[in-house]
């Protein structure tokens, strides 16, 4: 406890933000309506951008401001907007993708967080406290994102889960390692952008082939008894 109080305010702020991002991940898990999921995802994007900016201010890396900007535009605005637009065009904006057993899901999620923390513990010997916790949290974000992918049935919400997962990674990159080299950041951002576009394209293909965006309906290609 005392160790935490010794940290500077900025670092405390960063950790607080990390906790908030974690909360948003939980929220993503909990949301049942598509539109709400997308909105929560946007919030996560903004928080991520804010964190990046703080880190940049803290250690004064100019290129981190750029990546903060990128994050804000991509994760905060562009991608949610694209998703919403496509969802509206597909007419699934108001669809409900409810979770089967919320209680158990929540339990598993929190177990995951603990697990991630235990995994990240040994890193402690390496660096000062903040990073260790940040790594643990981003690991938790990644895991929660995957978990969301596993339990969600709608293609759109799966994409959101995928993006959330990437957010977790970004958070690690920013908060734990003060950002990756610029060229990598740009490349990753480009990939993400293209990915979202392609996702959009494939939504329509799926919509054409099967009358819904329910991924459970995509089970023609299996090796089981036919």
């Amino acid at each position: 406890m005392t160790r935490y109080l010794e940290l500077q305010l900025v670092e405390q702020a960063i950790i607080t933000l990390a906790a908030m991002i974690l909360v948003t991940s939980f929220a993503l898990l909990g949301q049942s309506r598509v539109v709400a999921t997308i909105r929560t995802f946007a919030w996560q994007g903004w928080l991520l951008a804010l964190t990046t900016a703080l880190v940049a201010w803290d250690i004064g890396h100019p290129h981190l401001y750029v990546s903060a900007l990128l994050t804000a535009i991509l994760k905060g605005a562009l991608i949610p907007w694209l998703l919403t637009r496509q969802a509206r065009q597909l007419g699934i904006l108001r669809d409900v993708d409810s979770i089967v057993r919320p209680g158990i899901t929540l339990l598993i999620a929190s177990a995951l967080v603990v697990f991630c923390y235990s995994v990240a513990l040994p890193i402690g010997q390496l660096v000062e406290g903040v990073t260790r916790d940040v790594v643990a949290i981003s690991l938790a974000n990644v895991m929660l994102g995957m978990f969301m992918l596993v339990i969600r049935r709608k293609a759109v919400t799966q994409v959101v889960g995928f993006m959330a997962l990437e957010n977790g990674i970004f958070f690690a990159a920013v908060a734990a390692t003060q950002g990756m080299p610029m060229v990598v950041e740009l490349g990753v951002a480009f990939d993400v952008l293209v990915a979202v576009v392609l996702f959009g394209v494939i939504f329509f293909h799926i919509r054409e082939s099967i009358e819904s965006l329910d991924v459970d309906a995509l089970n023609r290609l299996s090796e089981g008894e036919k």
Binding site: V119, M143, M146, V215, L218, N219, S222, E223, G224, E225
Partner: protein, 681 residues
């Protein structure tokens, strides 16, 4: 000078085998190429290998070269010693004779939908592969040649690929060849891990500790046994031999099985350091099982070529029994007897190569002319194909181990070896060896019965089907080939002393133990241990048999005049006064084997099905009676079928993980991640 000559000859024989296969590629466009280029080249290659063998065995020439192919740190080593020379000679003889037989035999494929090019190409490749196997002197070259041999013969087995049965047989064959090859590879791997590199020279000096040595022995036995056809690894043989073209069956059964035996001998007597008598016991057990099992199945099969295939299994069993004797004696410090056992084994290798190829060539002639595989449909062929009949008879006499033919000599030598069991200290071995000898005796007698059955139902009696009634003698080429082999069978039976002397050079170079006693008393007398112990004079016995024939001839000449005045009258055979003997009243092959089925009834899994239809007005008198007999290989039911089922079940269970649901897949990846993280933390 002579060494360089051998080098050139080796190069020539390999290149002419390859050349034959390459030239055959054009045979689809110009069929004459097969007759005028491919087969002559193949025959040339055979003769050249025969010449090499002669140089090696008679002149004691040897050869060791490296070809700049293979792995960069392990070029192909080729080496030619007495053992290799002996087997190269066997390959050469049969190849040469088959290439006499081939041109006229393969004519029947010119109208067929099958490609002549494929036939010629893979035949040449097959022969080249076998030659390379016996020449190879490092593990990599050996495996390469070995697999080329297997693959080429696979394509030949699958040659008439329009029948599904042939495809199944080829599949089974290739599968077992593959498994066997990997086993051999692992065996070499053991040697490799005990020595510096993968050359056979390194293997020879490698010191394996007992456990690994026994493991290597087991792997070799399984690997080479799978190719040679040891029970229970024999199942591909009776499937593959019948479906291949007959001259190929002759090559496969006559030569390829021997190449497998070569590999085993090379590994056992050349690489594996001190022999252990337990191995001898294992060999004796496996050999006896194989021999008795093979002959019993040969006795009830009714497909001509299947019978021959099972009899190959039997003969391989006999060879392994001889090897078992040899190992047992060598391990117990009786080198002379060990050498004698090895000589018997090699002698039988030679004999089986000769008479089994002969029989397969005969079978090819019979099947081509009668369009029948089934003994139950044949009969009376002797009067329609007299020459083929004569050669087949000689083949049957040889394989039935009857004096004065060659099969008898090797069996006699084996018995002589077995009878020296009193020389051993261990009472167990002294008790076991005679029992094995007893099994061997039973095998020989059953083989005689089996071939009486085959010959009697196919060549004697009256034809049982229309095709057979129309059968005519085959073309000259095929007859000449059969004649050569029959002549060789008689010759190797007639002059055992010389053959033993020849094989003696092989065993001496392998075990460094001369056997002077066997041939000391001149070409007329074969005395393996000593004249007072046992002696055999094939020429004199042959003389006696000839005198019997001469007597017949004299009577014939003497009665010629009187026959003019009153010729031999021909009557109907005795029909119990009912009249009208028809071919259907003859004893069939199945009926002939019936007493044996009664005696050894627990050996086979026989499905007998009797349908009888009673006469309406006289209910006790059957109007129509039909008896069907199906033989199933027990090993198949006990071993292979379950394994196959197991694999299919396993694959069905495994396939369940591919559910088709994306979320399941994501869950797999998720869980994998968690498990791995948990593992490392």
């Amino acid at each position: 000078m002579r060494d360089s000559l051998v080098l050139y000859l080796t190069a020539a024989t390999l290149s002419s085998a390859i050349g034959s296969s390459v030239s055959a590629l054009l045979a689809d466009r110009y069929p004459w190429i097969l007759r005028l280029a491919a087969f002559p080249l193949l025959g040339l290659s055979g003769l050249l290998s025969l010449a090499i063998a002669a140089l090696v065995l008679l002149e004691g020439v040897s050869l060791a070269i490296e070809l700049p192919v293979g792995l960069p740190w392990l070029y192909w080593h080729l080496r030619l010693d007495a053992l290799a020379g002996f087997f190269l000679g066997i390959i050469g003889i049969i190849t040469a004779i088959v290439s006499i037989y081939g041109p006229s035999y393969t004519r029947k494929y010119q109208q067929s939908p099958y490609s002549l090019s494929a036939l010629g190409f893979f035949t040449g490749l097959f022969v080249a592969g076998m030659q390379l196997v016996v020449l190879a002197d490092d593990a990599f070259a050996f495996m390469m040649a070995w697999e080329v041999m297997s693959v080429a013969s696979y394509f030949l087995v699958a040659y008439e690929h329009h029948q599904a049965a042939n495809r199944r047989a080829a599949f089974l064959y290739l599968l077992m060849a593959q498994i066997g090859a990997v086993l051999i590879l692992l065996c070499f791997g053991i040697f490799g891990s005990f020595s510096t590199d993968f050359t056979f020279d390194a293997f020879r000096v490698a010191q394996l500790d007992p456990l690994w040595a026994s493991l290597a022995f087991a792997l070799a036995l399984a690997g080479f046994g799978m190719k040679a056809g040891l029970v229970p690894l024999h199942v591909w043989l009776p499937e593959a031999h019948p479906v291949a073209p007959s001259h190929i069956s002759a090559l496969m059964s006559g030569v390829m099985l021997k190449v497998a035996v070569y590999g085993f001998i090379r590994l056992l007597f050349d690489f594996l350091g001190p022999l252990r008598w337990e191995w001898g016991l294992v060999l004796l057990a496996v050999g006896s099982l194989t021999a008795i099992y093979g002959v019993l199945y040969a006795l009830v099969e009714t497909d001509l070529k299947r019978v021959l295939a099972y009899s190959s299994v039997e003969n391989i069993g006999i060879i392994f029994i001889c090897l078992g004797f040899s190992v047992t004696y060598l391990a117990n410090g009786a080198p002379i007897l060990g050498v004698l056992g090895l000589i018997a084994a090699l002698y039988h290798v030679l004999n089986h190569a000769l008479f089994k190829s002969l029989l397969f060539l005969n079978a090819g002639a019979v099947i081509e002319r009668s369009h029948e595989h089934d003994l139950e449909a044949m009969g009376g062929l002797l009067r329609r194909m007299p020459w083929t009949g004569l050669f087949f008879l000689l083949g049957c006499l040889s394989i039935s181990a009857l004096p004065p033919f060659n099969g008898f000599v090797s069996e006699w030598l084996t018995f002589q070896t077995a009878l020296q069991a009193t020389a051993l200290e261990s009472g167990v071995l002294r008790a076991v060896i005679p029992i094995v000898a007893a099994i061997l005796a039973l095998t020989g007698a059953l083989a005689a019965a089996c071939f009486v059955r085959v010959y009697g139902t196919s060549f004697l009696g009256q034809p049982r089907s229309r095709h057979v009634r129309r059968a005519r003698e085959v073309r000259t080429g095929m007859l000449v080939a059969q004649a050569c082999l029959a002549g060789l069978c008689v010759l190797t039976g007639l002059l055992p002393t010389m053959v033993v002397a020849l094989i003696g050079t092989v065993t001496e170079s392998l075990l460094h133990q001369p056997i002077a006693a066997a041939t000391r008393h001149g070409w007329l007398w074969l005395t393996p241990i000593g004249p007072e112990t046992a002696s055999y004079s094939a020429p004199l016995i042959m003389l006696g048999v000839l005198m019997a024939l001469v007597a017949w001839f004299c009577v014939w000449v003497w009665l010629r005049k009187s026959r003019k005045s009153n010729p031999i009258t021909r009557r109907d055979p005795w029909d119990c006064g009912f009249g009208g003997l028809t071919p259907r009243m003859q004893y069939t092959a199945t009926a002939f084997a019936m007493p044996f089925e009664q005696v050894f009834r627990h050996t086979w899994r026989l499905k007998t099905q009797v349908t009888r239809e009673m006469d309406a007005d006289l209910p006790t008198k059957p109007k129509d009676l039909e008896y069907q007999l199906e033989v199933e290989d027990r090993v198949w039911l006990w071993f292979y079928a379950p394994v196959g089922k197991w694999v299919l079940n396993a694959s069905r269970h495994v396939a369940r993980i591919q559910t088709g649901h994306l979320r399941h897949y994501l869950a797999y990846s998720f869980l994998t991640l968690i498990v791995l993280l948990w593992l490392i933390s």
